[in-house]
Amino acid sequence: MKELSLNILDITENSTKAGAKNIIISIVEQGGCMTVTIKDDGCGMTKEILQSVVDPFYTTRTTRKVGMGIPLFKLAAEQTGGSLKIESVCEQDDPVQHGTTVTAVFHTDHIDCPPMGDIVSTLTTLIGGNPDVHFLFSHQMDGKTVGLDTDELKSVLGDVPLNTFEVLKWIEAYLKEQYDAPSSI
C-alpha cells in the first residue's frame, strides 16, 4: 500500500463486510504521533480468529475470513516504531455490544511513515459503496479538525441516497474545503 488512506479503505471494508451499521473512523495527529482508529458495530470475531488475523499465512482461501489487510496495516505502523491493536467482541458472546476496534499508532516523524494520501477519496469510495452505513469521520490535526457525519447528511437528504453522484461530489468538496481551510495556529 502506497498510502495510509488505502490501508484505511481496506480495513474499513472489513467492517462493512462484518455487517456494521455504524463505523467511526478517527485520525488524531498530535506532536510526532498519529493514531488511526476504526471502530465498528459489526459481528465481531471470536478469540481464535482475533489471534490469527495478524498472521498473513493463516488465511484459508476457501473461507477468506482473513487475509493480508491487517498484516499490511500492522507492518506499516510497526515500521515507524508504532503499533497495531485489535479489540473485538463477537456477536455470539454479546448480542448487544459487539464489534471490532482497530487502533494503529504511527510515528509521523519516522522516515518510513507512509503519506496519508487521498483520504477524501477513501471516504467517498466507502460512502459510495455503502450508502446505508452510518460513517462518522474525524481527522484531528494540530490546530484544526476535519469532520463528517453521514447521519447529518441523511437527515437533509431524506430519500435521496448518499451514493447519488451529485451527493458524493458535494461530500468530496465539503471535505476538501475543510482540509484546505487554514488552521487556527
Partner: protein
C-alpha cells in the same frame, strides 16, 4: 463554503430523477475492492468509472459497484462488465486512463475493448 442548504438543493433536484433510475440499469460495472485490488490501484479506477459514467450521461443505463476479491489477484485492478444476455467481460490491470476507453467504446458504443480483457492478457 459548502453548506447543508446546498445539499437540500441537490435533494430537491434529485427527487424526480431517483424514481426514473430504479430498475432501468441494464449494464453493471463491478470493481474488485479487496486488499489485492486496493493495493494495485483500484480506488482511482473505481472513481474514474463513477465520474465518467455520470459525465457521459450513462447513469440511467449503467451502475457502478464494488465487490471483494474476484480471485485473480495477479491481474488486479480487475473490472467486470455484466450485461443481460451477454457473456461477462473481465478487464484486467486497469487504470483510470484505460477506464476512459472502456466507457467510450464498450459502455457507450457496445464494443468490447479486447486488448484490455483477461483473454488477451493470458495470450
Amino acid at each position: 463554503m459548502k453548506s447543508l442548504a446546498e445539499l437540500a438543493a441537490i435533494r430537491d433536484k434529485m427527487k424526480d430523477k431517483v424514481v426514473l433510475r430504479e430498475g432501468t440499469s441494464d449494464m453493471r460495472v463491478v470493481v474488485g475492492m479487496a486488499t489485492c485490488g486496493i493495493a494495485a490501484g483500484a480506488r482511482p479506477v473505481l472513481n474514474a468509472f463513477v465520474e465518467l459514467v455520470n459525465d457521459e450521461g450513462l447513469a440511467g443505463k449503467v451502475t457502478v459497484s464494488q465487490t471483494g476479491c474476484i480471485g485473480i489477484c495477479q491481474y488486479e485492478p480487475v473490472v467486470e462488465v455484466f450485461e443481460a444476455g451477454k457473456d461477462k467481460v473481465t478487464y484486467v490491470k486497469m487504470t483510470a486512463e484505460k477506464a476512459k476507453k472502456v466507457v467510450e467504446q464498450h459502455l457507450k458504443g457496445g464494443e468490447v475493448v479486447t486488448e484490455y480483457t483477461i483473454d488477451s492478457a493470458k495470450a
